[in-house]
């Protein structure tokens, strides 16, 4: 049996209703892989923004003497963005709203160990 690829695992996550797109971003802001519909989004800018967000969250965590963060959720009027560390990278889930947040969290929890072997 052929070993699974990161693309296949991302596609599996994408099957959760409500998820519009997934982006895997390195700690330096390099966009490692994407899945789903990202429209005309500038991926380089998105990657740089995610890296800045990660650095900010880590600085805040260090200042407040918190342990490494597990999830960062950003909710807006027309979007929900969830960031979760995966290996040495960050998994970014984009959804139009938070209606299926519970299912998304469950799927992420189940899939992270498999994804972590790629990043």
């Amino acid at each position: 049996m052929a070993a699974e690829s990161s693309t296949e695992v991302l596609q599996e996550i994408l099957n959760v209703p409500g998820i519009k797109a997934i982006v895997v971003v390195g700690r330096d802001g390099f966009v490692i892989e994407t899945a789903g519909s990202l429209g005309t989004m500038d991926l380089d800018t998105l990657g740089a923004s995610v890296a800045m967000l990660l650095n900010g969250a880590e600085s805040m965590g260090a200042e407040m003497q918190l342990s490494a963060f597990n999830t960062l959720t950003l909710e807006a009027a027309n979007a929900m963005i969830m960031c979760t560390p995966v290996g040495d990278a960050l998994l970014v889930i984009l959804a139009p709203d938070s209606k299926t947040l519970g299912m998304i969290r469950l799927q992420i929890k189940k899939t992270i160990p498999r994804l972590a072997s790629f990043f």
């Binding site: 802001g29 490692i32 892989e33 380089d44 890296a51 290996g87 790629f118």
Partner: protein, 193 residues
């Protein structure tokens, strides 16, 4: 904080090294040149098409080795250059791992390949992904990103292969996916020889 590649790319993309009277560009302790990408692709494909069987394997190894040696010496010059020291090094907080992140940001900024690190196990393994590289302009029916293979092995040599110049050829790199073969991205895996 770690190396932020957009900061590196934005600052270095505007650097325009000038050639000397012989048409060569003295930079990073070596001589570099500026030739059209399709020149290299055409030369590579003609060489490969002319070689069959065992000769072809030897030729592929030689093409990777050219990039490996070039990447090792040029890469060492780059990480010790004033540009790298002033732009990248202030953001380095994770040692060799961050230096490698910076090296791929430079690699991207100067148009060799839009590439970065997908996975790194320090001193053991590194996976590189590239979403835009000049070899991907062709559809030869085989993987042909020999430059990224050689340079990626060279960068890992510099980071973990021992003191320069003795670390050359500590690591090797294989191409596992390629845009030139219809994949979404190019993927390169560096491991110990």
């Amino acid at each position: 904080m770690t190396v932020q590649r957009d900061v590196v790319v934005k600052q270095l993309a505007d650097v325009r090294p000038l050639g000397n009277e012989e048409g060569l560009i003295p930079q990073f302790g070596v001589l570099i040149n500026n030739l059209p990408a399709n020149f290299w692709n055409l030369a590579t494909m003609r060489l490969l098409d002319a070689a069959q069987g065992e000769r072809r394997k030897e030729l592929e190894a030689a093409l990777v080795d050219c990039a490996h040696q070039c990447g090792y010496n040029t890469g060492y010059g780059i990480v010790n250059s004033e540009e790298f020291q002033s732009v990248v090094m202030p953001m380095v907080t994770e040692g060799a791992k961050d230096v490698l992140r910076g090296a791929y940001a430079v690699f991207t900024a100067w148009g060799w390949a839009k590439s970065g690190i997908a996975q790194i196990k320090e001193g053991e393994k590194m996976v590189i992904r590239a979403v835009d590289y000049y070899e991907a302009d062709e559809k030869p029916g085989y993987h042909m990103a020999y430059m990224i293979r050689g340079v990626s092995a060279a960068f890992f040599d510099i980071a973990y292969g021992g003191d320069y110049p003795n670390g050359l050829n500590t690591f090797d790199c294989e191409q596992t996916q390629g845009i030139e073969m219809g994949d979404k991205f190019g993927e390169f895996v560096v491991t110990k020889k």
